[in-house]
């Protein structure tokens, strides 16, 4: 299933593929013999913020990992900025301008805060400078010499997000960024997402906290058993909230 393609080209063919930043067609993913995703269809336009909603085990996090080629094997079609990535090696995918923030945050214990920030290689120009990042997250500046894993949960989450902003990534895949965090931190994260969206970034947000995600997103994709079963536009949200709640089991 996974064949190796040549390195990605530096600039995507924007004109040829319209304004689609991400498109998944009939995507299947497997961990060993376990079939996790069953024909996922997903399209995200440039500059959009979309959410993947669903119950635990619905396949939301696996969808992000499948885009990053972090699963055992995958099939179908996954295009990033119009470029097919199915046969690409995992380390070539971020170079198309994709930043991934994992559910467990992935802060490196052996590195201090600033080393964690500087770790991901720059994938394209236009990323935020260290000064911009410290202005956005002042806590990180104050604790820049602390060991990464000694930060509070909220600070670790900010660090996990901040380090992909520095790389110049313009498509952000964010997995459960509010999990286990205090409301005041969630408020800060929401402000950051609004700022990033206003800068034209494309964001795919896997979220359990629907109240956090609802006011931010342009569209919501609801997943169940490894499939997208419903797409709800932000403008239809109020009318369909009851239906959505029943899907999510809220």
């Amino acid at each position: 299933m996974n064949q190796t393609l040549d390195r990605p080209t530096a600039s995507p063919a924007v004109g040829a593929h319209g304004d689609e930043a991400l498109s998944l067609a009939d995507v299947n993913a497997f961990y060993g013999e376990s079939h996790i995703l069953h024909g996922v269809e997903l399209r995200v336009k440039r500059g959009e913020l979309v959410t993947l909603l669903g119950r635990n085990g619905a396949g939301r996090s696996t969808t992000l990992k499948t885009i990053m080629n972090m699963v055992g094997s995958r099939s179908g079609s996954i295009k990033i900025n119009g470029q097919e990535t199915l046969g690409m090696k995992p380390h070539h995918i971020p170079r198309l301008g994709v930043g991934y923030c994992p559910e467990e945050r992935g802060i490196f214990a052996s590195l201090d805060v600033e080393e964690n920030l500087l770790l991901p290689p720059t994938v394209r120009s236009g990323g935020m400078s260290l000064d911009d990042i410290y202005a956005m997250f002042p806590n990180l500046y104050e604790r820049r010499r602390s060991q990464g894993t000694r930060l509070s949960g909220g600070e670790q989450q900010m660090l996990a997000m901040a380090r992909i902003l520095r790389t110049g990534a313009e498509i952000l895949l964010l997995d459960e960024i509010t999990e286990g965090l205090a409301p005041v931190i969630n408020q800060k994260l929401a402000e950051v997402l609004i700022t990033l969206k206003s800068r034209g970034m494309t964001i795919v947000l896997v979220e359990q906290n629907f109240r956090f995600a609802a006011p931010l997103a342009d569209r919501h994709f609801v997943m169940e058993h490894g499939r997208i079963i419903e797409t709800i536009e932000a403008r239809d949200l109020d009318a369909r909230r009851e239906h959505l709640n029943s899907l999510l089991g809220v």
Binding site: M68, M70, K89, P90, H91, H92, I93, P94, R95, Y100, P102, G106, F108, A109, S110, L111, E115, L118, L119, P120, P121, V123, I164, T167
Partner: protein, 295 residues
């Protein structure tokens, strides 16, 4: 005559210096093992054989190609390191997803193959490699006579050890290595070519062993079995220091050399076993090693 605990100062200092030089070899070799174990999680049992290959490459290079010591010190680690990188790419990578035991057995098998092949070609009796002219003779210190070459070995080994520590702990490349040790999948998701990093790390660890081999060639008989006897002690050093700890490997290597040297002065019968006694004590009191992180 000045005495220290009933031993003449010259004898005491001489053994201390010998211990420190042995310790420098322990440090260099355990450092290579620690670097490899850190990222690859492979207990590289071929390390002693790779040290021996370094010494043999220097010897054969001098005999057949006229390569002098200084050039050998530069070229041999590159060549043997490149061979190590090839070994990782073609052999070790195939078992990377299996239990660590498979890596240990595979590298043990490779060590036997290297050793057996060279015994077949050159026999077990060692050959000597001349001390380079610039480093012959010695320096008369107030308390002892220090052969220049032994002093050079100590300095060269310490510089390489500290340089390696600096690269791993203080540079961006080192940060990649440390982070790759913790979470290689996430490093790939950041765009770092982790398979290449793994290959280069193994090659570098092997190059360190080969460098130690070239340093050792003028001191010890160059024979196919020179690595296997040393490796057992080096593994004990790594266990004492803590698997995967860079600074631990260097400091423990030097300390164990010194302890061995001092034991030779006061109780020579125990000199060959003292490191293993320390290892047993450390395993009982602090199983993760003196510098290792407790699980």
């Amino acid at each position: 005559m000045t005495m220290i605990f009933g031993v003449p100062l010259a004898v005491f200092m001489g053994q201390l210096m010998l211990g420190l030089i042995n310790g420098a070899f322990y440090a260099l070799l355990s450092l290579g093992l620690a670097v490899i174990f850190g990222l690859l999680k492979i207990v590289n049992f071929a390390h002693g054989a790779q040290y021996m290959l370094g010494a043999f490459a220097a010897l054969l290079g001098a005999q057949y190609l006229g390569i002098n010591y200084w050039l050998a010190l530069l070229l041999v680690p590159l060549v043997v390191g490149a061979f190590g990188a090839l070994l990782e790419r073609l052999v070790l990578r195939r078992i990377a997803h299996l239990d660590h035991l498979y890596g240990l057995l595979l590298t043990f098998g490779l060590a036997l193959i290297f050793e057996g092949s060279l015994i077949n070609l050159f026999g077990v009796s060692g050959a000597s490699y001349p001390i380079p002219e610039a480093l012959s003779g010695g320096i008369k210190l107030p308390f002892m006579f220090l052969p220049t070459y032994r002093g050079w070995v100590l300095v060269a080994a310490l510089v390489v050890c500290l340089g390696t520590w600096f690269i791993i702990e203080r540079t961006r490349l080192g940060a990649y290595l440390r982070a790759g040790t913790e979470n290689p999948a996430l490093m790939q998701a950041f765009g770092v070519n982790v398979p290449l990093l793994v290959t280069l790390t193994y090659g570098f660890g092997v190059a360190l062993a080969a460098f130690a081999g070239v340093l050792a060639a003028p001191l010890y008989p160059v024979s196919p079995t020179m690595g296997s006897s040393l490796l057992i002690v080096v593994f004990a050093v790594v266990v004492i220091g803590g698997m995967g700890s860079i600074l631990g490997a260097i400091l423990t290597g030097l300390a164990m050399g010194l302890i061995e040297g001092l034991t030779k002065v006061y109780y020579p019968e125990a000199a060959n076993t003292v490191i293993f006694l320390v290892m047993i004590m450390v395993l009982m009191l602090r199983p993760a090693g003196l510098f290792g992180k407790e699980a």
